[in-house]
Symmetry: C2
Subunit: 328 residues, 2 copies
């Protein structure tokens, strides 16, 4: 009998594929099944010997899975799947609609409390590791300001918005922190920063044949919500360049807490990520937290939980004694 | 009756004074007493109305204190005081002799388990927040390397070592990370770095009248353990300059985890501190963890604990619902 943590994956897009690969870097865990709404026979996994099954049959595998990692989207899928699957499994998900965390938490908590499962929600880097650093920052420096900068990174939502503009054949959008603003924050100035002062937006666009470049540029930079409040740079490239130079999904950013001690000393704490692949990093975070969710459930800590509730040591395959010896 | 967390301070040096000030930034906590081995009448606190008492009478105040913050030294005092005081109080300390954490943990745990108290040990920034970041780093990027750089910062131990050299009237030592090494790590190169390649040491020395500068410099740069393995710069200054420019106690550093996802993407996580005052920051960290220690004890989590055991949300005066709404 295996003593590994038995992990299931629900949803097999970018994130699900990333979780599958990430599990291979964690020898105390094993992938025991992938569940999909598509035809299971249509999925080609990266791992050998792992069964693919229909998501609507997942209830029958309750005794075969210690923790289920939910890899579907926050917008349409998780609000329904999160509570539904927490009735049968200890789960981890990357729900990332910040404003809806409280209502999602409540729905998942009701399901998990009723079932005696543990549901670790909103895991990833933002929300997730960035949330943790906002917390640690404001707790150790209660008098101060917290700043979050994102980028350089590819924004899926903004790239989609570009592609909906008439005359655009393809394109991507990068969010960049404004370096001057980051420097002011790092220097402990605690500036008030407008949206425009914090981030700028950089677009690489492939035009449809015969499209008017100026009209496309104008449609992009004036688009409300997405671009109008930012300085936006629009670069026109050909389809080949788009495919060659802009296929990766880098991202990153910083959380900076700038504060003063009671005696007046300036103290600055900065947490930063520089990610070659955004979905692969989110996957890695999900897998580490899956280990913690499994252990929290074993310890009787049931119901919905977030990264703020997880004792950090539970993330590691090492024993508490080993962690104290190696990391303290 | 007060609903604030009642905090005591044991030991009133730099750290004790910092904790006293830091408590004023945390309105849910109140300082109810300072305990000292010196003559209590000789201490002048920064706060009005707080009693100073003899440390050897502290046992009588068991019912008046929710959590005791131990502010004495790791080398001579804590190995004895930590276990002794955990028999009567829930405690927090900044024990920082890395190599002795396991034995200190065992001694404090035995005392705290017997008494039903909670003893949160090795709290501060290293060990402490840096330990947390080493943990988060290796858990989310299990394939990779962790690097810790310290500085620019004043090292008390190395400054003391300089002052013991014959011919030295006064002096301070700063530890500096080697910028080129930091850059290589940030770039994801994962280099093997020797001691000399990671840090350099910068000394500011006031000579005694008639002392031989060359002999002093030689004695410093060749000193085993402290300087021989580093590139060390020795600057001679006068006593006035030392007092004017080198009285502050800045410090800081970085923990960087550089790793690869299973698909081969480079991912770099960096945590950095830039501290105007090292003891004031350590004090702030101790106070935040005092809140957590108090709550862990209320929740029945007794015995010795470290930052790796503390659910992050317990550090905050805010409710879990408020934290989820504001930080996720």
């Amino acid at each position: 009998m295996s003593s590994k943590i038995r992990v299931g994956i629900a949803g097999y897009g970018n994130l699900g594929r990333g979780v599958e690969l990430s599990l291979a870097q964690n020898p105390d865990m094993e992938l025991v099944g992938v569940f999909t709404r598509r035809d299971p026979a249509s999925l080609q996994l990266q791992s050998a010997g792992v069964p693919v099954r229909a998501l609507d049959q997942i209830e029958h595998y309750r005794n075969d899975i210690d923790v289920l990692i939910l890899c579907s989207g926050s917008k349409n899928d998780l609000p329904e799947q999160g509570p539904a699957l927490a009735r049968w499994f200890t789960t981890v998900d990357s729900f990332d609609t910040h404003a809806r965390v409280p209502e999602y938490y409540a729905a998942v908590d009701a399901a998990a409390q009723g079932a005696g499962t543990t549901a670790l929600i909103a895991v990833g880097w933002d929300p997730g590791l960035f949330s943790l650093n906002r917390l640690y920052g404001e707790c150790v420096l209660p008098v101060g300001q917290t700043y979050t900068f994102w980028g350089k990174g590819l924004s899926q939502g903004h790239s989609d918005a570009i592609r909906r503009v008439a005359g655009v054949a393809g394109g991507v959008q990068y969010t960049l922190p404004v370096e001057a603003a980051v420097q002011r924050v790092r220097n402990g100035e605690q500036p008030e920063l407008s949206t425009r002062e914090k981030h700028k937006r950089q677009c690489f666009v492939v035009l449809e044949q015969g499209a008017d470049a100026d009209a496309v540029r104008e449609a992009i930079v004036t688009m409300p919500d997405y671009f109008a409040d930012y300085d936006t740079e629009v670069n026109f490239i050909d389809a080949q360049t788009l495919a060659r130079d802009h296929a990766a999904m880098p991202h990153g950013g910083f959380v900076i807490r700038s504060g003063q001690s009671a005696a007046g000393s300036q103290q600055v704490v900065e947490y930063g990520l520089k990610l070659g692949s955004n979905p692969e990093f989110t996957s890695s975070v999900l897998v580490a937290y899956a280990r913690a969710a499994y252990r929290m459930n074993k310890n009787g800590q049931i119901g919905a939980q977030t990264v703020l509730d997880v004792p950090p040591g539970l993330l590691s395959p090492k024993s508490p004694a080993q962690l104290r010896k190696e990391l303290l």
